[in-house]
Protein backbone atom coordinates (compact mmCIF):
# COMPACT_ATOMS: atom_id res chain seq x y z
CA UNK A 1 0.00 0.00 0.00
CA UNK A 2 1.61 3.25 -1.16
CA UNK A 3 1.48 6.16 1.22
CA UNK A 4 2.57 9.81 1.29
CA UNK A 5 3.74 11.69 4.38
CA UNK A 6 4.70 15.06 2.94
CA UNK A 7 3.48 17.32 0.13
CA UNK A 8 6.31 19.45 -1.26
CA UNK A 9 5.12 22.32 -3.45
CA UNK A 10 6.41 22.45 -7.05
CA UNK A 11 6.22 24.91 -9.89
CA UNK A 12 5.41 22.27 -12.51
CA UNK A 13 1.76 21.74 -13.38
CA UNK A 14 0.19 18.62 -11.97
CA UNK A 15 0.09 15.45 -14.10
CA UNK A 16 -3.19 14.37 -12.48
CA UNK A 17 -5.90 13.34 -14.89
CA UNK A 18 -9.51 14.47 -14.63
CA UNK A 19 -10.79 17.98 -13.93
CA UNK A 20 -8.57 20.13 -11.72
CA UNK A 21 -9.66 23.34 -9.94
CA UNK A 22 -8.99 26.39 -12.10
CA UNK A 23 -11.27 29.09 -10.76
CA UNK A 24 -11.21 31.42 -7.78
CA UNK A 25 -9.61 30.06 -4.64
CA UNK A 26 -12.07 27.89 -2.73
CA UNK A 27 -12.32 30.12 0.33
CA UNK A 28 -11.86 33.56 -1.23
CA UNK A 29 -8.13 33.49 -0.62
CA UNK A 30 -7.73 35.57 -3.79
CA UNK A 31 -10.68 37.93 -3.52
CA UNK A 32 -8.42 40.96 -4.13
CA UNK A 33 -6.33 39.49 -6.93
CA UNK A 34 -3.64 36.95 -7.81
CA UNK A 35 0.00 36.58 -8.65
CA UNK A 36 0.47 35.69 -12.31
CA UNK A 37 -0.27 31.98 -12.70
CA UNK A 38 -1.76 31.63 -9.22
CA UNK A 39 -4.74 29.52 -10.26
CA UNK A 40 -2.78 26.88 -12.21
CA UNK A 41 -3.01 23.50 -10.46
CA UNK A 42 0.63 22.69 -9.69
CA UNK A 43 2.07 19.48 -8.28
CA UNK A 44 2.46 18.72 -4.59
CA UNK A 45 4.23 15.41 -3.93
CA UNK A 46 6.81 13.74 -1.69
CA UNK A 47 9.81 14.55 -3.88
CA UNK A 48 11.78 17.54 -2.62
CA UNK A 49 12.42 20.37 -5.09
CA UNK A 50 15.52 21.24 -7.08
CA UNK A 51 15.41 25.02 -7.56
CA UNK A 52 13.61 27.61 -5.45
CA UNK A 53 11.13 29.78 -7.24
CA UNK A 54 8.61 32.30 -5.99
CA UNK A 55 5.30 34.09 -6.50
CA UNK A 56 4.94 37.84 -5.82
CA UNK A 57 1.96 40.11 -5.45
CA UNK A 58 1.62 43.90 -5.42
CA UNK A 59 -0.99 45.14 -2.97
CA UNK A 60 -3.65 47.69 -3.78
CA UNK A 61 -2.66 51.00 -2.17
CA UNK A 62 -5.18 51.08 0.66
CA UNK A 63 -5.62 50.11 4.31
CA UNK A 64 -8.56 47.75 3.74
CA UNK A 65 -8.41 43.97 4.31
CA UNK A 66 -6.96 42.26 1.21
CA UNK A 67 -6.43 38.62 0.16
CA UNK A 68 -4.06 37.94 -2.75
CA UNK A 69 -3.47 34.45 -4.16
CA UNK A 70 0.10 33.22 -4.58
CA UNK A 71 -0.21 29.62 -5.80
CA UNK A 72 -2.50 26.58 -5.98
CA UNK A 73 -1.08 23.06 -5.56
CA UNK A 74 -2.82 19.65 -5.73
CA UNK A 75 -1.90 16.27 -4.28
CA UNK A 76 -1.71 13.00 -6.18
CA UNK A 77 -4.94 10.93 -6.07
CA UNK A 78 -5.64 9.50 -2.62
CA UNK A 79 -7.38 6.31 -1.59
CA UNK A 80 -10.75 6.42 0.11
CA UNK A 81 -10.23 7.39 3.75
CA UNK A 82 -11.48 9.71 6.44
CA UNK A 83 -9.50 12.77 7.53
CA UNK A 84 -10.55 13.60 11.08
CA UNK A 85 -9.72 16.14 13.84
CA UNK A 86 -8.50 13.32 16.05
CA UNK A 87 -5.73 12.49 13.56
CA UNK A 88 -3.64 15.32 14.97
CA UNK A 89 -1.93 18.44 13.64
CA UNK A 90 -1.10 19.22 10.04
CA UNK A 91 2.05 21.30 9.42
CA UNK A 92 2.60 24.09 6.88
CA UNK A 93 6.26 25.11 6.40
CA UNK A 94 7.34 27.83 3.99
CA UNK A 95 9.48 30.91 3.37
CA UNK A 96 8.12 34.39 2.65
CA UNK A 97 9.10 38.05 2.47
CA UNK A 98 7.44 41.46 2.40
CA UNK A 99 8.87 44.68 1.00
CA UNK A 100 7.92 46.79 4.04
CA UNK A 101 6.72 45.91 7.55
CA UNK A 102 3.70 48.18 7.07
CA UNK A 103 2.38 45.60 4.58
CA UNK A 104 1.60 43.14 7.43
CA UNK A 105 2.03 39.96 5.38
CA UNK A 106 0.30 36.83 6.67
CA UNK A 107 0.78 33.72 4.50
CA UNK A 108 -2.13 31.29 4.73
CA UNK A 109 -2.36 27.77 3.27
CA UNK A 110 -5.99 26.75 2.85
CA UNK A 111 -6.65 23.05 2.30
CA UNK A 112 -9.78 21.45 0.88
CA UNK A 113 -10.75 18.27 -0.95
CA UNK A 114 -11.56 17.89 -4.64
CA UNK A 115 -12.96 15.20 -6.90
CA UNK A 116 -11.23 15.16 -10.32
CA UNK A 117 -13.88 12.77 -11.64
CA UNK A 118 -16.73 15.20 -10.94
CA UNK A 119 -14.69 18.42 -11.10
CA UNK A 120 -16.09 19.64 -7.80
CA UNK A 121 -15.12 20.24 -4.20
CA UNK A 122 -15.74 17.32 -1.84
CA UNK A 123 -17.82 18.60 1.05
CA UNK A 124 -17.43 22.14 2.42
CA UNK A 125 -14.77 21.38 5.01
CA UNK A 126 -11.47 23.28 4.85
CA UNK A 127 -8.44 23.91 7.05
CA UNK A 128 -6.49 27.20 7.11
CA UNK A 129 -2.89 27.08 8.29
CA UNK A 130 -1.92 30.71 9.04
CA UNK A 131 1.58 31.98 9.59
CA UNK A 132 2.89 35.15 11.20
CA UNK A 133 4.38 38.34 9.81
CA UNK A 134 8.10 38.44 9.00
CA UNK A 135 10.17 40.34 11.52
CA UNK A 136 12.43 42.09 9.00
CA UNK A 137 11.45 43.71 5.70
CA UNK A 138 12.87 42.64 2.34
CA UNK A 139 14.38 39.43 3.76
CA UNK A 140 13.32 35.83 3.07
CA UNK A 141 12.30 34.24 6.36
CA UNK A 142 11.09 30.70 7.05
CA UNK A 143 8.23 29.71 9.31
CA UNK A 144 6.18 26.68 10.30
CA UNK A 145 2.65 26.50 11.67
CA UNK A 146 0.34 23.66 12.71
CA UNK A 147 -3.37 23.08 13.11
CA UNK A 148 -5.92 20.26 13.07
CA UNK A 149 -9.15 19.84 11.13
CA UNK A 150 -12.24 20.95 13.03
CA UNK A 151 -14.51 18.47 11.23
CA UNK A 152 -14.09 15.09 9.53
CA UNK A 153 -14.22 14.55 5.79
CA UNK A 154 -14.52 11.20 4.08
CA UNK A 155 -13.01 11.11 0.60
CA UNK A 156 -13.39 8.58 -2.20
CA UNK A 157 -10.81 6.76 -4.30
CA UNK A 158 -9.10 9.27 -6.58
CA UNK A 159 -9.98 12.42 -4.64
CA UNK A 160 -7.20 14.94 -4.06
CA UNK A 161 -6.20 17.66 -1.59
CA UNK A 162 -6.08 21.24 -2.91
CA UNK A 163 -3.59 23.59 -1.23
CA UNK A 164 -4.21 27.30 -1.92
CA UNK A 165 -1.55 29.67 -0.58
CA UNK A 166 -2.34 33.35 -0.25
CA UNK A 167 -1.41 36.59 1.53
CA UNK A 168 -4.05 37.96 3.91
CA UNK A 169 -3.29 41.45 5.21
CA UNK A 170 -4.40 44.92 6.27
CA UNK A 171 -1.71 47.48 5.47
CA UNK A 172 -0.88 50.24 7.92
CA UNK A 173 -0.26 52.71 5.10
CA UNK A 174 -2.12 53.20 1.81
CA UNK A 175 0.84 52.09 -0.31
CA UNK A 176 1.38 49.43 -3.02
CA UNK A 177 3.82 47.21 -1.13
CA UNK A 178 4.86 43.79 -2.44
CA UNK A 179 5.09 40.36 -0.84
CA UNK A 180 6.53 37.01 -1.93
CA UNK A 181 6.01 33.28 -1.26
CA UNK A 182 8.96 30.92 -1.91
CA UNK A 183 8.74 27.21 -2.82
CA UNK A 184 10.22 24.28 -4.80
CA UNK A 185 13.61 24.64 -3.15
CA UNK A 186 16.01 21.94 -1.94
CA UNK A 187 15.88 22.36 1.83
CA UNK A 188 13.10 22.53 4.39
CA UNK A 189 13.12 25.74 6.41
CA UNK A 190 15.79 27.33 4.23
CA UNK A 191 15.94 31.09 3.63
CA UNK A 192 17.73 30.69 0.30
CA UNK A 193 16.25 27.51 -1.21
CA UNK A 194 13.07 26.72 0.64
CA UNK A 195 11.22 23.45 0.07
CA UNK A 196 7.81 24.65 1.25
CA UNK A 197 5.46 21.84 2.17
CA UNK A 198 2.42 20.58 4.06
CA UNK A 199 2.72 17.45 6.19
CA UNK A 200 -0.21 15.42 7.56
CA UNK A 201 0.05 14.06 11.14
CA UNK A 202 0.47 10.55 9.70
CA UNK A 203 0.94 9.17 6.21
CA UNK A 204 -2.06 9.14 3.89
CA UNK A 205 -2.84 6.22 1.59
CA UNK A 206 -2.39 6.92 -2.11
CA UNK A 207 -4.86 5.66 -4.68
CA UNK A 208 -3.49 3.00 -7.00
CA UNK A 209 -5.42 1.15 -9.67
CA UNK A 210 -4.11 -2.25 -8.41
CA UNK A 211 -5.23 -1.55 -4.86
CA UNK A 212 -8.65 -0.60 -6.21
CA UNK A 213 -8.94 -3.97 -7.94
CA UNK A 214 -8.74 -2.56 -11.43
CA UNK A 215 -7.00 -5.09 -13.69
CA UNK A 216 -3.83 -3.89 -15.36
CA UNK A 217 -4.25 -5.08 -18.92
CA UNK A 218 -0.79 -3.85 -19.71
CA UNK A 219 0.57 -6.77 -17.66
CA UNK A 220 -1.01 -9.33 -19.95
CA UNK A 221 -4.09 -10.00 -17.82
CA UNK A 222 -7.27 -10.88 -19.69
CA UNK A 223 -10.33 -8.83 -18.79
CA UNK A 224 -13.60 -10.68 -19.32
Amino acid sequence: MATISKFYFHDAATTNTGTMPTGIFVNSGDSSGDATGARTARAADDVIGALQTSATITATANTNPQNWGYRRFVSPPLAAQTIAPGDGNWTFSCARAESNLNHNQLVVCNMSFWSPSSGAQVGANHLSLSGTEPTVAAAEQAESTTSAWALSTTISDGDIIVFEVYDSFIQAMATAYTSTFYYDGTTEGSTTSCASFVAPPSALTLFTAAAAGIPDVGMGLQVT
Binding site: N100, N102, A138, M173
Partner: protein, 94 residues
Protein backbone atom coordinates in the same frame (compact mmCIF):
# COMPACT_ATOMS: atom_id res chain seq x y z
CA UNK B 1 -16.82 68.02 5.53
CA UNK B 2 -14.64 64.98 4.78
CA UNK B 3 -11.52 65.36 2.65
CA UNK B 4 -10.52 62.48 0.35
CA UNK B 5 -7.11 60.86 0.68
CA UNK B 6 -5.06 58.54 -1.55
CA UNK B 7 -6.91 55.66 0.13
CA UNK B 8 -10.44 55.45 -1.34
CA UNK B 9 -11.62 53.97 1.97
CA UNK B 10 -10.19 56.71 4.27
CA UNK B 11 -11.11 60.40 4.64
CA UNK B 12 -9.79 63.30 6.71
CA UNK B 13 -12.18 64.75 9.28
CA UNK B 14 -9.80 67.49 10.44
CA UNK B 15 -6.23 68.44 9.65
CA UNK B 16 -3.76 71.05 10.88
CA UNK B 17 0.01 71.20 11.38
CA UNK B 18 1.03 68.17 13.43
CA UNK B 19 -2.48 66.68 13.61
CA UNK B 20 -4.77 64.63 11.37
CA UNK B 21 -8.03 62.94 12.30
CA UNK B 22 -9.11 60.11 9.95
CA UNK B 23 -12.26 58.10 9.38
CA UNK B 24 -12.50 54.95 7.27
CA UNK B 25 -15.40 53.36 5.39
CA UNK B 26 -16.09 51.00 8.32
CA UNK B 27 -16.53 53.91 10.73
CA UNK B 28 -13.14 53.52 12.42
CA UNK B 29 -11.76 56.90 13.57
CA UNK B 30 -8.29 57.77 14.82
CA UNK B 31 -5.95 60.68 15.36
CA UNK B 32 -2.36 60.94 14.19
CA UNK B 33 -0.19 63.35 16.18
CA UNK B 34 3.15 64.36 14.70
CA UNK B 35 4.50 65.45 11.38
CA UNK B 36 5.89 63.58 8.39
CA UNK B 37 9.39 64.95 7.76
CA UNK B 38 10.15 62.78 4.72
CA UNK B 39 12.46 60.15 6.22
CA UNK B 40 11.28 57.87 3.41
CA UNK B 41 11.45 54.45 5.10
CA UNK B 42 7.71 53.93 4.66
CA UNK B 43 8.02 54.38 0.88
CA UNK B 44 10.82 51.80 0.47
CA UNK B 45 9.20 48.66 -0.94
CA UNK B 46 6.31 50.53 -2.57
CA UNK B 47 5.59 50.14 -6.25
CA UNK B 48 5.42 53.63 -7.79
CA UNK B 49 4.83 54.10 -11.51
CA UNK B 50 5.39 50.38 -12.06
CA UNK B 51 8.73 50.17 -10.27
CA UNK B 52 9.54 49.11 -6.70
CA UNK B 53 11.32 51.76 -4.63
CA UNK B 54 14.52 50.13 -3.37
CA UNK B 55 16.44 52.74 -1.39
CA UNK B 56 15.77 55.47 1.16
CA UNK B 57 17.49 57.99 -1.15
CA UNK B 58 15.01 57.16 -3.89
CA UNK B 59 12.13 57.28 -1.39
CA UNK B 60 13.08 60.72 -0.12
CA UNK B 61 13.29 62.09 -3.66
CA UNK B 62 9.79 60.78 -4.33
CA UNK B 63 8.52 62.34 -1.10
CA UNK B 64 9.85 65.71 -2.21
CA UNK B 65 8.25 65.29 -5.62
CA UNK B 66 4.86 64.33 -4.12
CA UNK B 67 5.04 67.31 -1.75
CA UNK B 68 5.72 69.72 -4.61
CA UNK B 69 2.92 68.21 -6.67
CA UNK B 70 0.52 68.51 -3.72
CA UNK B 71 -0.71 64.90 -4.03
CA UNK B 72 -3.52 63.85 -1.68
CA UNK B 73 -2.64 62.72 1.82
CA UNK B 74 -1.45 59.11 2.23
CA UNK B 75 -3.07 57.93 5.48
CA UNK B 76 -1.42 55.75 8.11
CA UNK B 77 -3.34 53.67 10.66
CA UNK B 78 -2.50 53.15 14.36
CA UNK B 79 -0.71 49.92 13.30
CA UNK B 80 1.93 51.98 11.43
CA UNK B 81 5.50 50.85 12.17
CA UNK B 82 8.69 52.88 11.98
CA UNK B 83 9.67 55.90 9.92
CA UNK B 84 8.42 59.23 11.32
CA UNK B 85 7.60 59.48 14.99
CA UNK B 86 3.79 59.56 15.31
CA UNK B 87 1.49 58.93 18.22
CA UNK B 88 -1.97 57.57 17.65
CA UNK B 89 -5.28 57.84 19.47
CA UNK B 90 -8.13 55.46 18.66
CA UNK B 91 -11.49 57.28 18.80
CA UNK B 92 -15.10 56.21 19.12
CA UNK B 93 -16.45 54.79 15.89
CA UNK B 94 -18.68 56.89 13.68
Amino acid sequence: MLTPTQDPHVWIEEQRKGYVRYRNSEGRRWEVHGECVGLGHCIVGAVVDGREVETVVEARALWEKFRELGVPDCPVTPEFKGCCSFTFVELERA
